[in-house]
């Protein structure tokens, strides 16, 4: 080993706690970068492999009913490569051990042979096919997991009015249902919504659909135009009650996975950069101090004939050691956290397997970035050191020049104690360093704001969605839209205090070139159960004429209240109408459009028909109500509000809880690292001054106060700045989460601010205390010695 390297090792040992503080901050940034980029890689790779191996379709269409002969016509559409038709229907389930009725989406599987598209992956058991398979179902894994269902268990379903018991033949997954959630839902509700597969013949027969289909999946030939194929499919299926074909980008499960990847992409850049910049600044301050302390050693080395390059390399190696430690810790942290988060994604997304894949390219890039950041941090200090002529470097640095601080010059001096003035003047003498310390602390505060604002945003969404918008106890939906007198049947169910109708119609809303397909909801003008709420949040009365749409939908369609949009009805007879936008509704999952119920029925040229009803049920008759619902054949579903709300709360609490812990830990490390490092550097720079104060009779506590006074001032400035930065950062990141499927409101509470301030203040106090403990090691006698 070269002697200079031995010196390096000993210097590192002497500076180990400071070097560790820098390495830890760097590690936080790298861990976050590696974690998020690897998660993106894991999700993308797993998704693409799954889609390819299980032949996920590219275009999808639902319709009322078409004879199987139409299938050949679909296959003949130019640009279509493969066609698969089948049946998909929602039914009410009676799950053993669940007192609520659940909703099952039954998908047909071909009688013989495997499906050509959207192939099922069997986790256990087998598919319900073959001659002997009557009354058998395969169940989706998410639903099976929640209810502990295994092959051989039984489940009851109401098929077209007849309750039947089925044996479960197997547990399965499908690329169509990676996100196994009810249509339009942002989060899974695996307790009351499940996906099932049963033989085509049995399902078709039960619903009088034998020889027909209501569900289409297609793949496209190379170079085919998706838009042209969709248009052709729509034209072909229109007479059969086509509800509009859509591409993969609009497939609910696919879009949800895509949105998640987009959110991760947003997080994978901003946060790590914050940490790495702070680490670069810290490396710079540690190295500058080290080089100042070693002025004479540098002079000696140069006087003995070491070249500038050798001396420079020596100090670069010092920061390289920090980078190596930071990269090691960061990679380890990123891999461990990534594994944990992959486990969390299993709550949302169902893949045959989702393994953590380390993005090695990002590992290399992250190492290079942090090495560059560290070197950039050191370069200035090293350049100053090697430029110094040896003779000059042998002499101690000239005494520091000070002047009264700005606030003193403005006349506030008389209120300040000498030790307070020392702090003020020290801050002002090193404006860049003070500003960067302040900024780093502000960033630590800011980082804490973000995860808590997510949590508060979700709490707001929960309250908004299930206290303000939805006030019903249950939502009951019919298999097919029915006459309004069905409402009376609902009202006569035991315990129903109030029931209000709704009518759902699939429509395409278009403004200029932009269009979206959604469910248009017809509701009573001033309903008291399911309400339309604006951003204030106040209830919007549904007008006689016009449509109210989600603010997000208005943004996408680029329309404002008063503008007209084209509504194309995608059910029954195809109709197109221009309707004025009457107002904008607030919502946070998916997109919606609302019309007054009668107005909607008039638009559809129907009498008063309903798709179902929202109902308020008396708690005292809850059991009776559920029994009655389970035995009502025409019901396609019964969604219990509290169950959905609880499911949402639990899943988000788990995912946000984990992210929140990670971010809190990282921000605490930054706050601790910054303050500890600043205090240690200050201690080193001012050792003589502080020792003098001790000699002059200052107690250790008083000298400690002088040492940390500067940091206290910087922290006090940093905290409000951090709250401001954090609010901006939260707003910025929430914008990246602002997708068509999920949105979060920006909620910043005093409790969030208080917690961030408290955490940083505590981390600062603790690290200052650790540094101040070093005061005990100051040699008082050395202060008496001359400097020469």
């Amino acid at each position: 080993m070269l002697l200079l390297d031995r010196k390096l090792l000993r210097d590192l040992r002497a500076l180990k706690s400071q070097a560790l503080a820098v390495a830890l901050v760097m590690a936080c940034g790298l861990a976050m970068m590696i974690m998020t980029r690897s998660l993106i890689l894991s999700l993308e790779t797993t998704r693409d492999t799954y889609y390819r191996e299980h032949r996920f379709a590219e275009v999808f269409a639902r319709l009322k009913r078409a004879p199987n002969s139409v299938r050949d016509q679909l296959a003949a559409i130019p640009g279509v490569a493969t066609v698969q038709t089948g049946i998909a229907l929602q039914v009410t389930l009676d799950v053993p051990g669940l007192d609520l009725p659940a909703v099952g989406l039954l998908n047909s599987v071909p009688e013989h042979g495997a499906p050509v598209l959207n192939q099922v992956y069997l986790r256990s058991g087998r598919l319900p096919v073959g001659r002997t398979t009557r009354h058998e179902l395969a169940v989706g894994e998410a639903f099976a997991d929640v209810h502990g269902l295994r092959p051989g268990d039984t489940i009851s379903a109401v098929l077209n009015g007849t309750q039947q018991t089925f044996h479960l033949s197997g547990v399965a997954l499908s690329p169509e249902f990676v996100f196994e959630a009810p249509p339009g839902s942002a989060l899974p509700d695996n307790k009351t919504y499940g996906v099932f597969w049963m033989p085509y013949k049995e399902l078709a027969t039960a619903f009088q659909l034998y020889g027909a289909f209501n569900n289409v999946a297609l793949t496209l030939a190379p170079d085919a135009s998706e838009g042209a194929v969709i248009a052709a499919v729509d034209r072909l299926l229109a007479p059969y009650g086509g509800r509009g074909a859509f591409g993969r980008a609009n497939h609910p499960s696919h879009r949800r996975v895509d949105d998640e990847i987009r959110v991760l992409q947003g997080l994978s850049i901003a946060f790590p950069l914050v940490f790495l910049s702070v680490a670069a600044f810290m490396t710079n301050s540690v190295m500058s101090r080290q080089i100042t302390l070693q002025r004479e050693q540098i002079a000696m080395l140069k006087a003995c004939g070491f070249s500038n390059a050798q001396v420079g390399a020596h100090y670069f190696k010092f920061s390289l050691a920090i980078v190596v430690a930071g990269t090691g810790l960061g990679s380890l942290g990123g891999i461990v956290l990534g594994h944990q988060l992959v486990g969390m994604y299993h709550l949302f997304f169902r893949f045959p397997r989702l393994d953590f894949l380390l993005d090695t390219r990002v590992l290399v890039a992250a190492t290079l970035i942090s090495a560059l950041a560290a070197f950039a941090g050191v370069a200035g200090a090293v350049r100053r050191a090697v430029r110094l002529p040896p003779a000059e470097a042998m002499r101690p640095e000239a005494p520091a020049r000070y002047r009264p601080a700005l606030v003193e010059r403005l006349g506030a001096a008389r209120w300040f104690s000498p030790s307070f003035r020392m702090s003020l003047r020290n801050i002002e003498r090193r404006p860049v360093r003070s500003a960067l310390t302040c900024l780093a602390l502000a960033l630590a505060t800011a980082i804490l704001i973000v995860p808590n604002s997510f949590r508060d945003g979700i709490a707001y969404v929960i309250d908004f969605q299930w206290d303000i918008v939805q006030r019903q106890t249950v939502t009951l939906s019919l298999v097919e839209p029915g006459p309004a007198r069905a409402l009376d049947d609902f009202r006569h169910l035991p315990g129903v205090v109030l029931a209000q109708p709704f009518r759902y119609v699939p429509v395409e809303l278009r403004a200029g070139p932009v269009s979206r397909r959604i469910l248009l909801q017809g509701l009573p003008a001033r309903g008291t159960l399911s309400r339309v709420i604006d951003a204030r949040p106040q209830q919007l009365a549904l007008p006689e004429r016009g449509i109210i749409i989600s603010a997000k939908l208005a943004e996408i369609l680029r329309v404002r209240p008063g503008d007209e949009i084209i509504a194309k009805v995608l059910e029954g007879e195809e109709r197109e109408l221009a309707v004025p936008v009457a107002g904008l509704a607030e919502d946070f999952a998916g997109m919606a459009a609302y019309m007054e119920w009668h107005a909607l029925n008039r638009l559809l040229l129907e009498g008063d028909r309903i798709s179902g009803a929202h109902a308020m049920v008396a708690a005292s008759q809850w059991g009776e109500f559920l029994r009655a619902v389970k035995n009502t054949p025409r019901l396609a579903g019964c969604v219990v509000k509290t169950s959905v709300r609880e499911g949402f709360r639990q899943t988000t609490a788990e995912s946000i809880g984990l992210l929140q812990k990670i971010y809190t830990l990282f921000a605490t490390i930054v706050a601790f690292g910054i303050i500890y490092n600043s205090a240690r550097i200050s201690l080193s720079e001012r050792a003589r001054e502080l020792a003098t104060l001790r000699v002059l009779g200052f107690t250790r506590g008083e000298v400690g106060a002088v040492l940390v006074g500067e940091l206290v001032l910087l922290t006090l400035v940093a905290l409000p700045l951090g709250l401001l930065l954090g609010s901006g950062l939260a707003a910025g990141i929430i914008t990246t989460v602002n997708t068509e499927t999920v949105r979060l409101p920006l909620v910043l509470t005093p409790a969030n601010y208080a917690l961030a301030v408290l955490t940083v203040a505590l981390a600062s106090a603790l690290s200052a205390w650790f540094a101040a403990r070093k005061l005990a090691d100051i040699d008082l006698v050395s202060a008496l010695k001359a400097l020469d």
Binding site: Y402, P418, R421, T692, G697, V781, L784, L787
Partner: protein, 248 residues
């Protein structure tokens, strides 16, 4: 023993020694690495005296000054400040002793660079009882005009006089000066010594100057010469020579 909260008591007898030192020894390190800096020093120092401790580098004079100033504790022997056993005092007691009873003047001045002359003095007057006004202390050392200058704006002599003002502003019983002119030219050194001498004369502060410069011996009441950790001679001057008359 004085409590930390109370100032050290004035002796009943004004002629009683301020310091009583008996068999004072200080050994650094242990075993074969042990270095003996003081090997049994005995003396008494009295109020109003100006004492010079002369010695070459390594003679033990700085170690002795550190013991008197409460910066270090002896290995053997006794050290009393008035009736109080300074040699066995605890760390907080030593801090209080330095805070209220001792003024230090260092060769390198040790001013706080971020504070002006006035503030360097005020820093001390804020923490001790019945201090003199910072401006008054600075006037006593002839610096009434440069109150608001920072150390970097002052000459070496001026900086040292600020250090003296800082040391005396607490009205200490003892003023300990470690090579106060070591970093100064002759002319500036004289100004500084005059300031020290004036303080000693006008305030009656026991003043101990350690130096390797034998010329300073003439301005003292008593001169102790140290060598190899022992006092090898003690001399009492019949008359203190005026600083300006010292033969440089």
């Amino acid at each position: 023993m004085p409590s930390v909260a109370n100032p050290l008591p004035e002796p009943a007898d004004a002629r009683a020694p301020v310091f009583r030192v008996r068999g004072l020894a200080r050994v650094y390190g242990e075993g074969t690495a042990a270095v003996t800096a003081l090997r049994g020093v005995d003396f008494d120092l009295f109020r109003s005296e100006l004492v010079v401790l002369l010695g070459a580098s390594g003679s033990g004079k700085s170690t002795l000054l550190n013991q008197l100033g409460g910066l270090d504790s002896p290995t053997h022997g006794t050290l009393h400040y008035r009736d109080w056993a300074l040699g066995t005092a605890s760390e907080p007691e030593l801090t209080q002793f330095r805070r209220h009873s001792v003024g230090f003047v260092f060769q390198a001045y040790n001013l706080i660079p971020s504070l002006t002359a006035r503030e360097n003095v005020a820093l001390i007057t804020e923490i001790c009882r019945e201090p003199m006004d910072a401006e008054e202390a600075l006037r006593l050392v002839g610096l009434g005009e440069r109150l608001d200058h920072f150390p970097a704006q002052l000459s070496g002599g001026e900086q040292q006089r600020v250090a003296i003002a800082r040391a005396i502003a607490k009205r200490p019983a003892v003023l300990l000066c470690d090579e106060p002119t070591g970093a100064l030219d002759v002319h500036t050194g004289i100004t500084v010594l005059e300031a020290i001498e004036r303080i000693n004369r006008e305030l009656g502060t026991l003043t101990v100057i350690i130096t390797h410069n034998a010329i300073l011996a003439d301005m003292a009441d008593r001169v102790f010469t140290l060598s190899d950790g022992r006092i090898i001679s003690e001399r009492r001057n019949a008359r203190r020579g005026a600083v300006g008359e010292l033969a440089w």
